[in-house]
């Protein structure tokens, strides 16, 4: 496994991954009487699994595979990691990001393997974040050994520099969890004593028990208010200083006045509301905690997207040798090498080599693009089958990918809290209540000249005005609305979204993967009768091809496949192979012309007419004559038309955006009846189209699914992703529909207008309760226990009304 020194004769190929391995370190196992060599236990395990399930055919089908140089041959530079190591005494600790983790058994393999290295104290691999935390004793083993150990089993370690925002969110979430948990524990204890006190109010209780229970309640409520409630207290204080009153002021006012009133009641003898004070805090903290969780996810996926950009590049030095260096160290104009299967670390222009590059994450185009000398390649895309040398353009900070990440981050920050309805009204309600309380105090002070009565009446105004129902009105309806929607597979991320969805005027749809299936399927077939089983031959030939077009053709034939020998795939052109003694070829028109296949006028016309419709055309040759022409297109989804009809019925303007070419765009737009089409747009251009619409005063909903849609999704008032959207699209959208069902977009629009109207009803109720009860409190009529009851009833009405949302 030390792949450094080797001589030609000592090397063997691993049976599973075809990588070259030193004979001395290879694992040799007898399977079915034959000695097989493996480079590592992982490969052996996979081989055994495949073998024991009688799937050995897999190994026979890949005769044209090139044994690619494993990532492990890349010289890992421990120095690139050294700044992330923390040393305490002899104990060294590092966090690594591992690429190549696909499933839980990868985690298992890495953990077991690294623990076997002498000197490693502990390793924990986080399956969710692909981060490994390793501690080892510095005098027994070097970091180099550990890194090589990990890479020898096929996982590539990267230095983990930590993502500022994600770490911050994680800390915030942990902090909120502590505060909420504390509030929960103490509130539960508090409830026991409050229940006893309530019973005592009706049944009577001994004075000494009463006093003890009250004191315990006080002791239990204090940490809830001042530790758990600290975020509200400090935010309320800040907002008071800035003279902009928000919801936190209401929460603080409500809980603090109940708290202070109760303390006064211990002294003067009366009913207490410590439970009210702490329950307000507990419930609102729960909402905050859930919100922090979804924000943490958003932060993580930005970090994940940043991971698309590799941290190291293979720099080609002047002497021609390749060295692994941090991406940041690569300058404009330097040359780097990209090995097959690797992500491209920087934007650049190809100077040597040829490869098909998958740019799906940037363009949404599912077909790999052939890149040859002179073509531009982009960071984050990956080379599927060839070795490239590129000259770097710009640096790590200004790649296209980095620009997309920045756009998304900016948009998310800018979008931050829209002031809710309750927040706006709090601006009038809070000062009015405070003024009223003061007025009550002075009125009773002057008329009865009894300070205690005056104070009690003033505080009771604050208690009755306690905005429990008002505070619950919006968040509760949203909580119920979002969970109900969530059960149907619609994830709504935030309260203001329901409000915005009900105001939408324009719906913008992405083409690939949203209106269309995202996979090409066969639409036209011209069979020239050279072979009775044309499709069978085509499917057999394409079966070994990795190309999406090829897979579509394989899917078009359900029957038995024929044996293909001498299979060859020419990147970007086509495939060829021998079936039943005849040479069959399938590929582009250029490929056929290159290979001198005869194409007559009729066949040429077929090809040209299909191309004009924006279709992908595959020509199939049997021997030297053209056997058939196949047209393929990424066609409409079945549920696209009902969706479009539904949106149109709501009176929304419709628009289609795509990164694809005009021909395909026009074909699809005509089929679904959208007249407003813009084709050939890059990720940032899509976002620009959206902001132009917004500038015209439209309220825009964008539906998309790829990373290339992410900037547009954040830019839109409402971004909706669908089905198996990429992680970043999922997080930059405000609504994520998890099921692959377009009709749920119509459900979303319907349920949000319903949720919004319930919120309005709740607010009207909460306000009218306060308007009626307040005058009574001012006049000193309300007995505290009755006002407490009223408060509970008011909250229950809001709760009950919100629960109606469960039935959508």
């Amino acid at each position: 496994m030390s792949g450094n020194e080797k001589s030609g004769t000592d090397m063997v190929h691993c049976e599973h991954c075809l990588q070259e391995t030193n004979r001395a370190s290879a694992i040799i196992v007898k399977i079915s009487g034959e000695g097989k060599t493996f480079c590592c236990k992982g490969c052996l395990g996979v081989y055994e699994l495949i073998h024991n399930n009688s799937l050995d055919a897999f190994y026979n089908q890949r005769f044209d595979w090139q044994p690619g140089p494993p990532a492990t041959e890349v010289k890992l530079q421990a120095s690139a990691f050294s700044d992330t190591v923390t040393i305490t005494g002899n104990e060294h600790r590092i966090e690594l990001l591992l690429s190549g983790i696909r499933c839980a058994s990868c985690v298992w393999l890495i953990e077991k393997f690294v623990m076997k290295i002498d000197g490693v104290v502990s390793i924990r691999v986080n399956y969710a974040t692909h981060k490994a935390a390793i501690t080892w004793s510095g005098d027994k083993v070097s970091l180099d050994t550990i890194l090589h150990g990990i890479s020898s089993i096929g996982y590539l370690p990267h230095p983990c520099h930590g993502n500022g925002t994600a770490d911050l969110f994680a800390q915030e979430k942990q902090d909120l969890l502590l505060r909420f948990g504390t509030a929960g524990f103490f509130s539960m204890q508090l409830m026991i004593f409050t229940a006893a006190l309530y019973a005592g109010f009706f049944e009577g209780m001994e004075e000494r028990y009463r006093l003890v229970f009250q004191l315990i309640s006080w002791a239990l409520a204090t940490p809830v208010l001042f530790y758990s409630g600290y975020p509200f207290l400090s935010s309320a204080l800040r907002s008071l200083r800035r003279m902009t009153l928000n919801m936190d002021v209401l929460v603080t006012l409500g809980s603090l006045s109940a708290y202070c009133y109760s303390i006064a009641m211990i002294i003067y003898g009366g009913e207490m509301f410590f439970d009210t004070a702490s329950m307000i805090i507990t419930f609102i903290l729960l909402g905050r905690f859930l919100e922090a969780g979804s924000r943490l996810k958003a932060g993580n996926s930005i970090a994940e997207m940043a991971e698309l950009q590799p941290h190291e590049a293979l720099l080609i030095s002047e002497s021609g040798a390749t060295v692994m260096v941090p991406v940041a160290a690569v300058q404009h104009g330097e040359m780097i090498e990209i090995i097959p299967g690797d992500r491209i670390p920087l934007d650049g222009r190809v100077v040597e080599g040829e490869a098909e590059v998958n740019e799906a994450m940037l363009t949404g185009e599912s077909n790999p693009v052939l890149k040859t000398v002179g073509n531009e390649v982009f960071a984050g895309s990956f080379s599927m089958n060839g070795r490239l040398r590129i000259r770097v353009i710009g640096n790590a900070g200004n790649t296209l990918l980095a620009q997309i990440i920045r756009t998304v981050e900016d948009a998310q920050a800018r979008k931050a809290p829209i002031q809710g309805i309750a927040d706006k009204t709090a601006g009038y309600f809070v000062p009015a209540t405070i003024v009223l309380a003061f007025a009550t105090f002075f009125y009773w002070k002057i008329t009865s000249s009894n300070t205690v009565t005056a104070l009690m009446n003033a505080v009771s105004v604050l208690v009755i005005a306690c905005p429990c129902a008002l505070g619950l009105a919006t968040p509760l309806a949203i909580l119920v609305g979002t969970t109900t929607a969530g059960k149907r597979g619609i994830l709504v991320k935030g309260g203001d979204i329901f409000e915005t969805v009900s105001k939408i005027t324009t719906a913008v749809l992405d083409k690939t993967g949203t209106i269309t299936t995202g996979k090409p399927s066969m639409t036209n077939l011209h069979d020239y009768g050279l072979s009775p089983s044309f499709m069978q031959h085509v499917a057999s030939l394409e079966a070994a091809s990795e190309h999406p077009t090829g897979r579509a053709l394989v899917a078009a034939w359900q029957g038995e496949r024929l044996t293909v020998t001498q299979f060859r795939a020419i990147p970007g052109k086509g495939v060829s192979g021998v079936i039943e003694g005849t040479l069959w070829r399938a590929g582009s028109r250029a490929f056929m012309e290159n290979e001198n296949v005869q194409i007559d006028i009729k066949q040429n016309a077929h090809t040209a007419s299909l191309e004009a419709e924006g279709k992908t055309v595959v020509l199939v040759a049997c021997g030297n004559r053209l056997a058939g022409v196949i047209g393929m297109i990424d066609d409409l989804r079945q549920d696209a038309l009902p969706l479009i009809a539904g949106l149109r019925k709501k009176g929304l303007a419709l628009m289609m955006l795509t990164g694809d070419n005009q021909g395909v765009a026009n074909y699809i737009a005509a089929r679904c009846g959208i007249s407003d089409v813009q084709a050939g747009l890059g990720p940032l251009e899509k976002a620009a189209v959206i902001s132009a619409l917004k500038a015209k005063g439209e309220c825009v909903m964008m539906v998309g699914d790829g990373i290339n849609d992410a900037p547009a999704l954040t830019e839109a008032d409402i971004g909706v992703t669908l089905g198996h959207a990429s992680g970043i699209a999922l997080e930059s959208a405000s609504v994520a529909i998890l099921k692959d069902d377009l009709s749920l977009i119509n459900t979303l629009i319907k349920s949000s207008s319903r949720c919004f109207s319930i919120i309005r009803q709740n607010l009207v109720w909460a306000f009218s309760y306060n308007l009626i009860a307040l005058p009574l409190a001012v006049s000193g009529v309300l007995h505290p226990i009755i006002s407490a009851l009223l408060m509970v009833v008011s909250s229950l009405v809001v709760v009950g009304n919100s629960l109606r949302l469960k039935k959508i």
Partner: protein, 60 residues
């Protein structure tokens, strides 16, 4: 009747103990990765024997 005070004391003690346990759990990262533990329990502690046990489908 003073037994009620003992009972209150015990009740409070248990509650506060659970609270400390919770704080310890949060601080030591028990809530950090909710994803892996459910798979981890399927792992064996020892090196797998020669016989293959299919744990997960693994793409080659």
């Amino acid at each position: 009747m003073s037994s009620i005070f003992y009972l209150i004391g015990i009740g409070l003690f248990v509650g506060v103990a659970a609270w400390f346990l919770f704080i310890w759990a949060v601080k030591s990262g028990q809530f950090d990765d909710p994803e892996a533990p459910k798979y981890r329990m399927l792992d064996d502690d020892d090196e797998p024997a020669k016989a293959v046990k299919p744990i997960e489908k693994k793409s080659p």
